[in-house]
């Protein structure tokens, strides 16, 4: 059994292309794929940044063709691309260990547009759950995704990839936490009622912000936003009164003049007994006079400062992702080792069964022409058995030895080709039924259970 991944992401296709292939519901596509002979299991993920299908298959070339067809017809609706390019130009494919590595990288958010963003892991968990509910996710892909989630957890815990905030709102909250020990006892003042203010307010509320007031030129807009977050609404005329007991001030309002200047802040600082105040100016043009930053115990960050911190964090995340890559590689080697072990067991059993089938049929044919008593028959039987065992011993030993090596999968493939295990016309192939269809599924589950040290279901 092999793993194939076909997909497109922000790295291979523009948003105009990606949005043509993104779908809300992947269930019907998964059901359709797994109805086909060439695909045993399938998981699909469709987000704004990536559309990917992972399958396990015994017929790689046919599965590959099917997935390209699926992208073209089922996901893309058979339409041609707007810029005259071809689907092949935007789709990537990964096989076996490369596919495993890719899935682990995606889950760990190393492959994301914003490295370390946490949403992708949740989206992958949703995709896995959908596949389980559809019944398209079998033991191999289940194991793959469980290991992917474990890898993502390791990356999160052992590296700083996910710890550095990269959105402006989250940077602002992170800075607030470096100034104030406990946000639950702090009051925030939001000047404006736009999207940036809303995103920041949401981020601050999630961190347990104590109280909040929204001040806006149009009071009805302030009331609407304030009502959603359990805050108080004010007009801009209340600013002086609000400033004296506000610890965090976020401003993003359309204005050609400064809303807050140094004189106003000096007065507010005296009233608040010089307790530190954190000002975040997200307005363009700026809402807060930059001279305010020279006041004692006043920390002013404008949108450029926040962007600079966010970009620096992004660069730091990229550097940290090297550690994450190491973890992904470790986990990939572990998974591939497990996969090789998984596949070596049925291959070895298959090879033994083939050899035994040939031995028995040849033995019966020869014995029918000879006049031998019982003890002589037993002797010949033992002789043929011994010859087969001695012939099989070196290749089987080699196969077992390869199970903990990365090239183990290739060796297994070679062994199957060399002994014509997938050739239905080869001598002894009448035993192959055991290794196909429902029997195969049962054998795989037994093997999985034996590898995990569990009883089969």
């Amino acid at each position: 059994m092999r793993i194939l991944l076909v997909g497109m992401s922000h790295k291979s296709a523009s948003v105009e292309i990606r949005e043509r292939y993104a779908v809300d519901e992947v269930g019907p596509i998964l059901a359709k794929l797994t109805d086909l002979d060439e695909i045993d299991e399938a998981v699909a993920i469709s987000t704004c940044n990536r559309v990917e299908i992972v399958v396990s298959t015994r017929q790689m070339e046919a599965a590959r063709h099917t997935l390209y067809q699926c992208f073209h017809a089922d996901l893309g609706g058979g339409a041609s691309l707007p810029d005259g390019s071809h689907l092949d130009d935007h789709v990537y494919e990964y096989f076996d260990q490369d596919a495993v590595t890719h899935v682990f990288r995606v889950a760990s958010s190393i492959d994301s547009m914003v490295v370390g963003e946490p949403q992708i892991l949740g989206q992958m968990k949703d995709a896995y759950r959908d596949a389980r509910e559809t019944g398209s996710c079998g033991p191999l892909l289940s194991r793959l995704y469980q290991r992917a989630f474990a890898t993502a957890k390791r990356v999160k815990n052992e590296t700083l990839v996910a710890r550095r905030p990269v959105s402006v709102a989250r940077v602002a909250v992170e800075l607030a936490r470096q100034i104030f020990e406990d946000l639950q006892t702090k009051q925030a003042l939001m000047i404006g009622a736009g999207e940036m203010i809303e995103a920041s307010l949401f981020a601050l509320r999630r961190q347990g912000l104590g109280g909040c007031r929204v001040a806006n030129r149009t009071r009805s807009n302030a009331s609407e936003l304030a009502a959603r977050f359990g805050a108080d609404a004010h007009g801009l005329g209340d600013l002086d009164q609000l400033l004296s007991d506000s610890d965090i001030v976020l401003s993003c309002i359309g204005s050609t003049e400064f809303i807050l200047d140094a004189d106003r802040l000096s007065q507010a600082m005296a009233e608040r007994r010089r307790r530190p105040i954190f000002l975040i100016d997200m307005g363009v043009p700026r809402n807060i006079d930059p001279d305010v930053d020279s006041l004692e115990n006043v920390y002013l960050y404008d949108i450029d400062d926040l962007q600079q911190v966010a970009q620096s964090n992004e660069a730091e995340r990229q550097r940290e992702s090297q550690d994450a890559e190491r973890i992904v590689l470790e986990e990939q080697e572990r998974f591939v080792g497990w996969m090789v072990a998984l596949q070596s067991v049925p291959t070895i059993q298959h090879l033994r069964a083939r050899a035994e089938s040939i031995r028995i049929s040849e033995l019966e044919r020869s014995l029918s022409r000879m006049d031998l008593d019982e003890s002589e028959r037993d002797h010949v039987d033992g002789l043929t058995r011994s010859i087969v065992n001695k012939l099989l011993h070196p290749p089987l030993s080699r196969l077992k030895a390869q199970t903990d090596r990365e090239e183990g999968l290739a060796v297994l493939e070679e062994a199957r080709a060399l002994f014509a295990l997938d050739d239905e016309t080869a001598p002894g192939s009448e035993v192959d039924e055991v290794y196909r269809g429902d029997e195969s599924e049962r054998a795989l589950k037994e093997t999985l259970a034996s590898l995990d040290g569990e009883e089969p279901e």
């Binding site: 100034i179 020990e181 010089r274 530190p276 004692e296 115990n297 920390y299 600079q308």
Partner: protein, 261 residues
Amino acid sequence: MTWFLQASAAVYLASGLGALLGLLLPSARLLRGATSGLALGAVLQGLVFATLHERSPVPSLTDLPQIIAFMVWISAIGLVVLNFRFRLGGLVAVMGPVAFLAVFVSGLNWGGNSPPISGGSLPHIHILLSSSGLGLLGICGLVGFFYLLEHRRLKRKRPVSRRFQWPSLEALDQVGIVCLVIGFTLLSLGLLTGAAWVRDSQGQLWTGSSHAMWTLVAWLIYAGLLGLRILGRQGARQAAATAVGGFLFLLFAVLGVGAFQ
């Protein structure tokens, strides 16, 4: 050096190195372990003080190295107690090595013959109270120093650094206030008992010695700092700067002048 003294020195050093490693990795677990290490070091050092009377000759607490060791012991206890409320694990990276040095140096002079001090228990009370005050004002200066560093970083718009799990500005300021109030009270009591001791031994409250004069100036600095904080006339940044300057001055006044004499 007694076994307890050796053990406390080793544990202090290990906790300092552990905290440094915890900051660099970064590892919250390592920082918690380092804080526990500092607490263990303080317990072991406490056993040293508790068993002083069993030594022969009994080391005098009035020796300068012993005073410093006691001061550091109070600081270590203070830091461990305050860590229950604030995230101060990172400060163990400084406190651990300082405590190690103090204990190690005091151990070198272990059993040295100090001249007996007259005045009954007053000199010991004076030294214990003053050293305790000095220890807590030392933490006040230490957190003030780190407050200034953090303030500078935030003002310069340096990137958010999660690598160093450092306390927030507010936490550093609150620790500074707590240590200032308790430390100043203990120092004041130390000065009063010192004056009483001088009156008993020399018949007058004020001798005009350089030690007394400089210590009084340092006390006035802290009195001013505390007054300004209470009145809300001084912000956290200025208070941090004053705490650093005040502690350096106090060190010179209490220990430096004493050492020269």
